[in-house]
Symmetry: C2
Subunit: 242 residues, 2 copies
């Protein structure tokens, strides 16, 4: 992060005033041939323009024309393992970045890499998602957009996260298990089905479907691009809503 110091602004203002006034002085001198008139006009311009500039700024400050309030959005993607949450959330974060909005992407695997001791039992999961909620809501409070993708199978935990946020969008990625495009993933699902992995949401653990998600998307029925357009439109609405 760079800041422009007051010294730099003062120096820049002075150098601009000198250049601008020299320009006016030269123009007047060229067209009138009178050095005295050129000096008088140039000299007066220094002060008159400062006053005009000041009034111009104050006037604009009173006008709301072209001013837009942006409210950061927390986009929460929930859905089964392999449903395509991660792929979409990457695209959403890229899109937000491309609009020069500060964006943080966060997902289960990256957080669990930091905390390998985290279990998958119901109380551990719920505690985990709640703490992620503190993270995303603190980011939101500081003007940062968040794209979070977590299986987050527990309704309670999701509601807690929503309650912490001011501008929260819940997207249910409802693609079925057989949708997954990833071979490694398919193997995980097979192993869970064989009982080798415990607490696997949708197989040997409940996935509590969101009752009123802002969007529900099934990527086995819908192209990524179409789904993304819906999501982008919803984010646009929410970031501009007063």
């Amino acid at each position: 992060m760079f800041i422009e110091t007051a010294t730099r602004s003062v120096a820049k203002s002075l150098s601009w005033r000198v250049l601008a006034t020299l320009t006016t002085f030269s123009l007047v001198y060229i067209f009138t041939g009178q050095i005295e008139t050129a000096i008088t006009v140039g000299g007066l311009e220094v002060f008159v323009k400062m006053a005009v500039y000041y009034l111009h700024e104050r006037g604009w400050n009173k006008l709301n024309f072209g001013r837009k309030e942006i409210r950061p959005v927390v986009v929460w993607l929930t859905g089964l393992s392999g449903s395509g949450k991660g792929r979409l959330s990457e695209k959403i974060a890229e899109w937000l970045d491309s609009k020069a909005l500060k964006t943080e992407r966060i997902d289960g695997p990256s957080v669990r890499k930091l905390f390998p001791e985290l279990g998958f039992s119901r109380p551990e999961r719920i505690g985990h998602i709640k703490r992620v909620g503190l993270l995303v809501s603190t980011l939101e409070k500081n003007g940062i957009f968040v794209v979070a993708s977590f299986v987050s199978p527990d309704q309670d935990a999701r509601e807690f996260v929503r309650s912490l946020c001011k501008n929260h969008i819940e997207i249910h990625i409802a693609s079925p298990f057989d949708y997954t495009r990833n071979e490694k993933h398919r193997m995980l699902v097979e192993r869970a089905k064989a009982g080798e992995i415990e607490n696997f949401a949708g197989i040997n653990e409940a996935y509590e479907e969101p009752q009123n998600p802002d969007l529900r998307i099934d990527l086995s029925n819908e192209e990524d691009e179409v789904a993304l357009q819906k999501i982008f439109q919803l984010i646009e609405q929410r970031m501009h809503a007063g």
Copy 2:
């Protein structure tokens, strides 16, 4: 968060150019009495000033004079319950705010209010502080200063937090137990001494003193103001260090 749309900037630029040129036109007309000269100078000014402004901007972009890089800092206060961490961290956050730096303050009680189920056993504490580390380092990554005050008695957990951050200051508030100015606090300490409260760091639980804190402050020996000046100076150094 408000943004100025491109439309607003265009409208503002145009209205400024009209005003500025009308000013020049009027000055020339008043001092020469020649309307033609005034029109020629004013008309030419529109184009000449735009070119001069552009060159002025480009020139300044190449100059680093007055440009300062700011790196957000994570200020971590560790110390016994009642040592004065909270009081100092409030002042530090106020000071950062007063410099128009985005700042988030976070402490044990406020986080534990959100997660009442959090215990105080060693593994619970360590897990808790590590997760706080993810929060503070994500904020730092997004350009936000953090002032965190936690007893955080475990060296491992503190080291983990430091390892996640890029620009981390550890301050050990080393005031002794009998320092506390708070009556409620004194009672807590008495109860812990009587064995009524478990896992109370410094009484029936180890407080592992930081080995190499960036600062060590004992508020029973030092006025708040003096301590704060040292802290502010250190933060200033670190936020400007390349």
